[in-house]
């Protein structure tokens, strides 16, 4: 009780002996340290990376060409993958017996456990170029010693007997790339324009708000239809789709912009904003260094919400007949193909598999977002 008269400035380290040795982390380091503590976020990060890996290596991972049809196996149900037969390691899928029912106009399948189809890893295949340039002759998984009628539909087959698993794997390419470009474009536009509108207020705000009003006033569907018709037929489908996505996101930013503006209008006279201004920070700097972080949670939430919306935007486009064209597959296309009673009632795997793919990627992106948010949150989470 008596030895404590030292004044703080004489020995700052003594203030907090435990922390003295510990290096002071920079903001990014700190951010990272907090992020890795968030286990689900880290896991999600891996899932996201994994998904992108799958998309990149789709040719290798998918056992079949996504457009390869098989008339014997239309609407074939998923075949369970088993690893052991009679206790010995021998990967296989249950065989399927097929019977054509002409009365109900469908093929009926009966799992036949006695006729397992042998499955192998790194099986030889037709040569192809991985990532467009690595020559390859093997696939990750495939049937071995198969009779011509044997099949391996891990997630079932669609109406043309195409392998859903392969289609989902290939679909990841479009869905995890083009869609996200749109999302980020909307994000950047939304935050910047909304930020400017809310931060400056006054005439700038009025003008921007009128523009937003104008853009919002044009319903999307007529716009899509008009544009789809205006795009030349000779354009390849991917390009067409890309352009439509861009245009969609050129409109999509408006609601984020309004939300950002609303919040900024109330934040712009906070003392810390004024302080930054007095520090000589530029207006844009203030928006991005002070105001945006204050609204980060919302922005991250909107972002993660926008991703499924964008992935799915093409289903709506397809519904109108202006979506992606075959042979390109995407998750949206797969879902669109499941949009009928037949699939819902008799082949639910057509619906669940792409939906699961979307849910998984969106959830992991979301938890990743949560992790980032929490890492930037000054208040410690429990």
């Amino acid at each position: 009780m008596t030895d404590t008269t030292q004044l703080p400035e004489t020995d700052p380290a003594a203030l907090n002996p435990q922390s003295a040795e510990m290096a002071v982390a920079g903001q990014w380091k700190l951010f990272w340290l907090k992020f890795v503590k968030h286990r689900i976020a880290v896991l999600s990060l891996f899932v996201v990376l994994f998904l992108y890996l799958v998309a990149a290596l789709a040719d290798f991972i998918a056992p079949y060409d996504p457009n390869q049809t098989n008339s014997r196996y239309t609407y074939a149900p998923p075949q369970a993958l088993g690893l052991f037969i009679d206790g010995s390691f021998s990967p296989h899928v249950t065989g399927l017996d097929m019977e054509l029912n002409t009365e109900s106009m469908r093929r009926e399948f009966f799992p036949n456990p006695d006729a397992p189809v042998k499955v192998g890893f790194f099986v030889p295949s037709e040569p192809y170029a991985l990532l467009g340039f690595i020559p390859m002759q093997h696939k990750l998984i495939g049937t071995i010693d198969a009779r011509p009628t044997d099949s391996m539909y891990l997630f079932g087959a669609d109406r043309l007997g195409r392998d859903i698993f392969s289609r989902v794997v290939h679909g990841a390419r479009v869905s995890l790339s083009i869609g996200l470009v749109g999302v980020f474009l909307s994000l950047i536009l939304g935050v910047t324009i909304g930020g400017i509108s809310g931060f400056f207020g006054g005439v700038v705000d009025t003008v921007i708000q009128r523009i937003i009003e104008f853009l919002r006033s044009i319903p999307t569907i007529p716009l899509w239809m008009g544009l789809a018709a205006a795009i030349p037929l000779s354009w390849p489908p991917i390009q067409t789709y890309f352009v439509i996505t861009l245009i969609v996101s050129l409109i999509g930013w408006t609601s984020l912009a309004r939300e950002v503006r609303g919040r900024f209008l109330s934040l712009r006279n906070e003392d810390f904003v004024i302080a930054a201004r007095l520090d000589g920070m530029s207006e844009i700097g203030i928006i991005f260094h002070h105001l945006v972080p204050s609204f980060m949670s919302h922005i991250i939430a909107t972002l993660t919400l926008a991703i499924p919306t964008m992935i799915l935007a093409e289903t709506a486009l397809s519904f109108l007949g202006i979506g992606l064209q075959p042979p390109i597959v995407s998750w949206g296309v797969l879902l669109q193909e499941a949009q009928n009673i037949r699939a819902v009632s008799q082949a639910p795997w057509l619906l669940f598999t792409p939906a699961a793919a979307i849910v998984i990627s969106v959830l992991s992106l979301n938890f990743l977002g949560d992790g980032l948010r929490d890492a930037a949150d000054p208040y410690e989470a429990h």
Binding site: T4, T5, P8, P12, N16, Q18, Q27, N269, S294
Partner: protein
């Protein structure tokens, strides 16, 4: 004035310990402290800034911010119905603690400027207390709120109930907090530096109000303050804290006149130091009243959209190297004036001529764009509200480093070193750089604000209550630091303060503001020794004296403007 002494403590704190786990280790903010609180008596808690006073206070109500935790100790509280509960054991969300919060133990938060909701009307926020604990009906509530606002000296309370807090001055917000705390006649009041933003006259009224309630209801008061004058004036008992521990506890007289603990001694010593003019200033030759004033303000007027005329023809001037003190009633427009100088607000009329480093002058009122930016680099501001002025999402290193970075004075490692040096200068552990503002005590935050203001070499600093949350010893240190900087680079200060000792200690000249006007200016000596204006006289009469044997607030008088 002596309250009925009760032998049973109302609150009995034993071995309380509160910790904050952080990445770099445990922060033992409160480390095994014990004290008692009796009905009708006042316990003043003093101590170093960051010593755990506020955390202690918050612990009593179980509202320590995450990740803080009460890790040990008990807090026996005698409830109004005669039962006794251990507050430390109560569920922080439970019904029991809720009934106690506000109803039996009310708290005035240290940082009134941010502790109120910006989107609810003042009246609503106060009235809520009545609704929760008494279920008072709406109309009656309003009347009662107006009455409370009147008691805490808010002008025109009928209008004020419907205002929002951002339309209030710092002192007014603080008084709203006080009104809120007193609304339910609690049996115990925790006042965490409740008068930091109040001018001495208002402060005196508030202290009297608390005293009155204490006498009427036998309220126990735990009063956290740095103002030893106030301690001397109101305390029955004093608790001295340092680094989370209790250094010394005892009757007020003993603490002031026969302190045992070294820290206490040093504290009392610092008080005396602040009682007179700083040595640095005494030794300095008065700044030559050079013809070139640094800043010349004439007839500055500003009316808020609410119709309130906050500035009414203010004129003042500052010469290089000079410190101009601004004192005045709470709500008189000091902050507004300071903000006008930096063009945070746009005054409607007047002239603000600022002499730039190259000798040319600009009228800041008309300036825009690059001119204004350049001027802002020369003029810095220390905000009255430290919480609000620090972005809660930036680490302290970022906040202090920001002006340096923006002025391109330093980057990378050098920036880091400069930040560390600045923190050290204002008495903060550089190891705390990675903390966010909310993890600091009120005084620490205030020092962050000071560090930020002095980071780039300005020519004029508008310091708005820059040291109000600092304990006396730190305060004198900070003032010394500022004066040192002033001498080194011929810096000028406009020093807005309520604390007359600070003004005396540091200022060359003083301007007295009242209701948007400057009613008197002169050298510090002239104004303090020979006040001309009646308001100034009233002000000086209300300064508490840091000696419990010389309680003189009863002798104060109050200035009432004759014309409406």
């Amino acid at each position: 004035m002596s309250a009925p002494l009760s032998t049973e403590p109302l609150l009995s704190v034993r071995n309380l310990a509160v910790q904050f786990p952080t990445r770099t280790g445990l922060v033992k903010a409160v480390d095994d402290i014990s004290f008692d609180l009796y009905r009708g008596r006042t316990l003043c808690v003093v101590g170093e800034s960051g010593s755990g006073k506020s955390v202690t206070a918050r612990s009593i109500l179980q509202i320590v911010d995450r990740p803080g935790r009460i890790v040990g100790g008990s807090m026996e509280f005698a409830r109004a119905d005669g039962s006794t509960v251990d507050l430390a054991r109560l569920d922080p969300r439970g019904r029991q603690i809720r009934a106690i919060r506000g109803g039996e133990i009310a708290m005035i938060f240290q940082e009134p400027m941010s502790s109120l909701s910006p989107i609810h009307r003042v009246g609503e926020q106060i009235g809520e207390m009545l609704r929760i604990h008494f279920g008072t009906p709406k109309t009656e509530r309003r009347e009662r709120v107006i009455d409370l606002l009147k008691q805490v000296e808010i002008p025109r309370p009928e209008e004020a109930v419907d205002r929002y807090t951002f339309e209030f001055s710092g002192g007014m917000r603080q008084r709203v907090m006080i009104a809120m705390a007193l609304a339910c006649n609690p049996s115990m009041l925790i006042a965490d530096e409740p008068t930091t933003a109040l001018d001495v006259t208002t402060q005196a009224e508030i202290l009297a109000l608390i005293k009155r309630l204490q006498v009427q209801h036998g309220m126990a008061v735990m009063f956290i303050t740095h103002d030893m004058g106030v301690v001397a004036e109101i305390a029955d008992e004093v608790l001295v804290m340092y680094r989370g521990k209790v250094m010394e506890r005892g009757p007020v007289d003993q603490i002031f006149h026969t302190p045992e603990n070294d820290y206490t001694k040093m504290l009392i010593g610092s008080v005396l130091k602040l009682e007179s003019k700083s040595e640095l200033r005494l030794n300095r030759s008065a700044p030559e009243m050079a013809p070139e004033t640094l800043l010349e303000v004439r007839d500055l007027s500003l009316t808020f959209p609410t119709g309130l005329k906050a500035l009414d023809g203010v004129s003042l001037s500052v010469v290089p190297g000079e410190t101009l003190g601004i004192v005045g009633e709470s709500g008189s427009g000091k902050t507004t004036m300071g903000r006008c100088l930096l063009r945070v607000y746009d005054p409607q009329s007047g002239v603000m001529n600022f002499r730039r480093a190259d000798g040319s002058t600009v009228d800041l009122r008309m300036a825009g764009g690059e001119t204004l930016r350049a001027a802002r680099r020369d003029i810095r501001m220390i905000f009255q509200d430290p919480v609000g002025s620090l972005n809660p999402r930036k680490t302290v290193a970022d906040i202090i480093g920001e002006p340096l970075r923006l002025a391109r004075l330093a980057r990378g490692k050098e920036l880091d070193d400069r930040v560390a040096a600045l923190m050290q200068q204002v008495g903060l552990d550089p190891a705390w750089r990675e903390r966010y503002p909310h993890a600091f005590s009120g005084g620490q935050r205030q020092r962050i604000g000071i560090a930020r203001a002095i980071a780039v070499k300005p020519r004029l600093i508008v310091a708005d209550e820059a040291t109000s949350a600092l304990d006396v010893s730190l305060r004198s240190q900070m003032l010394d630091l500022m004066m040192q900087l002033q001498d080194e680079m011929s810096l000028s200060f406009i020093f807005i303060s309520h604390d007359m000792s600070v003004i005396r200690y540091m200022c060359d000249r003083v301007a007295v503001m009242y209701r948007g006007q400057i009613v008197e200016t002169g050298t510090t000596e002239a104004v303090t020794q020979n006040p001309q204006h009646a308001y100034t006289q009233a002000l000086l009469s209300a300064i508490p004296h840091p000696d419990p044997r010389d309680r003189r607030l009863q002798d104060r008088f109050r200035y009432q403007e004759t014309s409406p």
